[in-house]
Amino acid sequence: MEKSPPGVPVVIMKGVMKTAAKKESFNYRLWKYDGAPGELIPLLQSAQEHFGYIPRRAITYISGVTAIPESDIFGVITFYSQFRLQPMGKFVVRACAGTACHVSGAKAIIDTIEDELEVEVGDTSEDGLFTFLTVACIGCCSLAPVIMVNDDTHGRLTPASLRKILKEYRRKGKKIAESAVGAS
């Protein structure tokens, strides 16, 4: 891809006007990019924060601003497990598959999640409510086995207590969806 003129493509400038006040947003970061090396990963991280995943167009924007070929950017995205090219569900369920959790029965926990939510590791449920991922270690090994749902951690789980927690999230998610329909 050709190097774009200094500054930011016009499409993004519009967004900047609206969001410049929000510190370090994706648009703001793109706008303030000054060619300093090593900014690609932070840019991708803020794109993911902004969109919930990295959409195709974000790769085009970043490539346009940084003059890094899209193929290289794609290579970096697929190398790191943090980055996702698909939208995430409303609730991201992360099951810890670290050593301590493995020893404490993470397998049964992962099976239970797959069964209860009807998703496999790495996928999003059909209703878009849940995305199920495994992570190497959440870092609260003494509470094993552990899962994280968005930013909340649930520890010392059994299949039974886990089902209860997941059902609660499903109820919450449906409620939000219903009220959104009602409002519109």
Binding site: P37, G38, I41, Q82, I138, G139
Partner: protein, 593 residues
Amino acid sequence: MKKIIVGMGTCGLSAGAQPVYDKLKELSEAHSEICELDITGCIGMCFREPLVEIQDESGRTIYGDVSSELAEEIFNEHVLSGKKVDDERIIFSVASDGSTSGSEATFLDLQERIVLRNCGIINPESIEDYEEIGGYQGLKKALTEITPEEIIQTMKDSGLRGRGGAGFPTGLKWSFAAANKGDTKYVVCNADEGDPGAFMDRSVLEGDPHAVIEGMIICGKAIGASFGYIYCRAEYPLAIARLEKAITAAKKKGYLGENIFGSGFTFNMKIKQGAGAFVCGEETALFASIEGERGMPRIRPPFPAEKGLWQKPTNNNNVETFANVPWIIANGAKAYSSIGTPKSPGTKVFALAGKVAKGGLAEVPMGTTIEQLVFNIGGGIKEGGEFKAVQMGGPSGGCIPASLKHTPVDFESIPTTGAIMGSGGMVVMDQGTCMVGIARFFLDFTQSESCGKCTFCRIGTLRMLEILDRITRGEGVSEDIPKLEKLSIQIKEASLCGLGQTAPNPVQTTIRYYLDEYKAHIEDKKCPAGECEALVDFVIIPEKCVGCTLCARACPVDAIAGKVKEVHVIDQEKCVKCGKCITSCNFGAVVKR
């Protein structure tokens, strides 16, 4: 003035410290004339979180397993009326005369805390707290009283060895970077704690971020660098937030920036978030990641001390190593080298997890035995289990069997067992852990984390994983063990970086110590630990079954028979061992045998 402190590390928060804090905030604000509320990092007793500490004229009292109801009770009784609540909840207390008591007193009494000196003591978000207990005094000494050469000499004399796992002498490493001429050099702090089962770096960053920052600035002075990077895992949001706060505070106070302590020395730093790649714990891969590329290791030489980050001379150390530095500079090399063993001086922080009764962080002098750590500090095995092995060094390490429990933990003794010191994760296993399963678990991890650069690491680990998969499914053949051994040697010899060079360690150590278990899987098609699903029977414990029919309905092959409110039975002929009955049972009545 009474002080109420809530442990707000990740472990505390996930055990429910936030509602406890909110409750105490509400209560203490109503009585602000007699008490103040503060937060602190992880004190290491993760197994009793959430923790609340009360400091008053009688000394320090720490309550464990605090709920918001108990917090209210503690507040009303202890803070307002001055009488301590129910003894069982007090897990540790220090009286005004310095004597310690409480149910978990031994956990702390047996430790020697240098790295964790402030964790669980100070408010990590307050630079004043850090200054009050002597923070940044090591830096002042390093900048105004001694020369860079003297700093390096002190580090050499202290005998401190890299705490990231390899154990390279820190002073020597610094002298290499110092010897390379160049106007731009970098200090890098490796906070990409990727070993599953290790969480000491996270606790240090969350509990005492200024110690790491101070250590990095001292290193900058010693090697002649004026910029530092902290490469921290994105999975540690709290650690990143506290580091950011600490850096801003240090800049305000003049510990970072230009002309620090009027010495003319300038140092700045920046946090770089990792993006989830285990291989980035390897220093050259870490540099590639900071530079915004795929985190793949580079060929050495040139070594980082010559050409590291951005091709400039770079010194890279681990979080725990940097946290030691201010203490060594302030207290002198001798104070440090007198602790531990002659060849591995100082202390080491271990993260105890797995089937140990008291999981948490423990800092002990080097040379402490595995037995002392697991039994005296960790309180032995959970639920009366039998100690089988301890896994050290994460996916690069190995399993040390119970028969070698007298092995002292230091850089010389651990490698003789086939394991490595590693960053300090210690996962304890009991008789219910299958050692073939553990080897498979780690291989699965290293195989998916291999960056793909070296063929043997990329393909060899996959072949090993396939063999281990086959063995755990009961389809192993007798040639599999020699094949695994051969592949192990080849992968070790033909890989560029530490990931590949150590990836076969878990397999090699389990074959060395648990050959019987491998043979049982291959020849008798049995899993002695009762873990590998294909090789065990699923049975229902009659005493626990209430006859709810959930398992029978979940079973995809109708192998479970039984009427409502009657004990159910699994037909072993029909059972396909999918495990649905285990995950569907609300009473824990289905087990593997």
